[in-house]
Symmetry: C2
Subunit: 265 residues, 2 copies
């Protein structure tokens, strides 16, 4: 990688590298301190139902910004960005099936497309680490474990389905602090939705995640579950829209908003 | 009023009285402890833009619930209510002009109508009073003063316009507590958006409100301004939709949600 560290720390410089395809990589650890988002782009026909789904299910679907049909500038979160180029890698789904992975979507862009940007757990993980809470999946260089639960989302129009959660193993003596810290960040999934008993939310085997990596929960740790940004993508996919565009896993959109700006207090 | 006190304290009983037109009155002080909402009903054609407007402007437009086109049950906030009957009084606007005031909207209801319920300041006022902060407009039996400001909302589609604020005179030694308490309630307008200098937000004369009553700010008090639920109604009206239905001022929809349930922490 020939890019110097400073351009990897600055959202605007980093997006330029993605825009010019000089860099294609996961964004974890880059532009530290800035909000990164999940991406879902859908045809206008689905936009009201999907926006309503997000309004009804803010924990799995915490909206950072919605861009009107045909527009590609995230005016609130990154006013000089172009959503067609500035995500490191995109996935194109046709009728609910992955058709390809690309580094820009300029050639398939139409005036019919509405863009949804969702807060991601990177923001609250940073806040946890700053508060002295070690996250073992980071130390083990693994992705979090994700599970499909028995907790239904509130349906809206054509959209419905189960909540997907991410699990982090938290030392028992850090449990209260973990809840306090993440409660400040409702726009990036916020407080956990379950603590301690995977079976109660429909998870049969904590060592057999539906997505992500296996993460061992040690004796002195408690499994803590957060609503996960995979939920809106999974729910949208289920309705098999003719076209849907998302970011490739881990290849997030990097905004100009600082993590502390999305804290409620 | 022949109704005993207990039916005025209970949201369900109270809505029954409104439903049967046995009672038509402002709802301030009724069903204490429960969230009351502002109402805006718009044709489906406007629904995505208006929902997006609310998403972009959560302080003036804090959504409690949105009900899909043609449906009249607020499943999340009052699952046994009927939005066509259960508001004490409605206003019908045609092309942006008030055409009549009615006690139900059953005869003009269509499958094209989408209902928006917004949190209202009654919830945070109750929290302020419980925290020992006297609100002089209550003591003087007046409505709050409301002003059109120079703070623009973030436009969405056909919707745009200035933020309307409500003003409360707060004793200077209660200012910090006031901000702390209201910060816990982002779903009912939340923290103030301005403190102390009306001119800075475009208010020329604090004794000449655009809506509501005049409220004197005493020597030891500071004028504090909150984003107001009049904003979405004013903004929607400006676009002159063929039909728009709101509650009559002060005649709110009473939900089954307790005020403390909408607190973020």
């Amino acid at each position: 990688m020939s890019n110097n560290q400073s351009s990897l720390d600055n959202p605007s410089d980093l997006r330029s590298l993605f825009r010019d395809s000089k860099l294609i990589c996961p964004t974890s650890g880059l532009a530290a301190g800035y909000v990164q988002t999940n991406l879902a782009i859908l045809p206008k026909k689905y936009a009201f139902d999907f926006l309503l789904f997000c309004q009804r299910n803010p924990k799995p679907c915490p909206l950072i910004e919605v861009i009107e049909a045909g527009k590609y500038t995230p005016i609130q979160s990154a006013p000089y960005a172009d959503i067609r180029y500035d995500v490191p890698q995109y996935r194109i789904y046709e009728n609910g099936t992955l058709s390809k992975e690309v580094d820009n979507i300029a050639d398939i862009w139409t005036d019919e497309l509405v863009t949804f940007l969702f807060g991601c757990s990177f923001s609250f993980e940073e806040a946890l680490i700053e508060s002295g809470i070690n996250l073992s999946h980071f130390e083990n260089k693994k992705n979090v474990s994700m599970f499909i639960t028995n907790i239904n989302t509130i349906p809206a129009g054509v959209f419905s389905g189960p909540t997907v959660v991410s699990m982090r193993a938290i030392p028992r003596d850090k449990l209260v602090k973990t809840i306090q810290v993440t409660s400040r960040f409702p726009n990036v999934h916020g407080a956990p939705i379950h603590i301690g008993n995977p079976e109660q939310i429909g998870i049969k085997d904590i060592n057999s995640p539906d997505f992500g990596d296996i993460n061992v929960v040690n004796e002195d740790e408690v499994p803590v579950f957060w609503a996960c940004g995979v939920t809106p993508q999974a729910v949208a996919m289920k309705s098999k829209p003719p076209l849907m565009i998302t970011h490739s896993p881990g290849h997030m959109f990097v905004t100009d908003i600082k993590n502390h700006e999305v804290a409620v207090i």
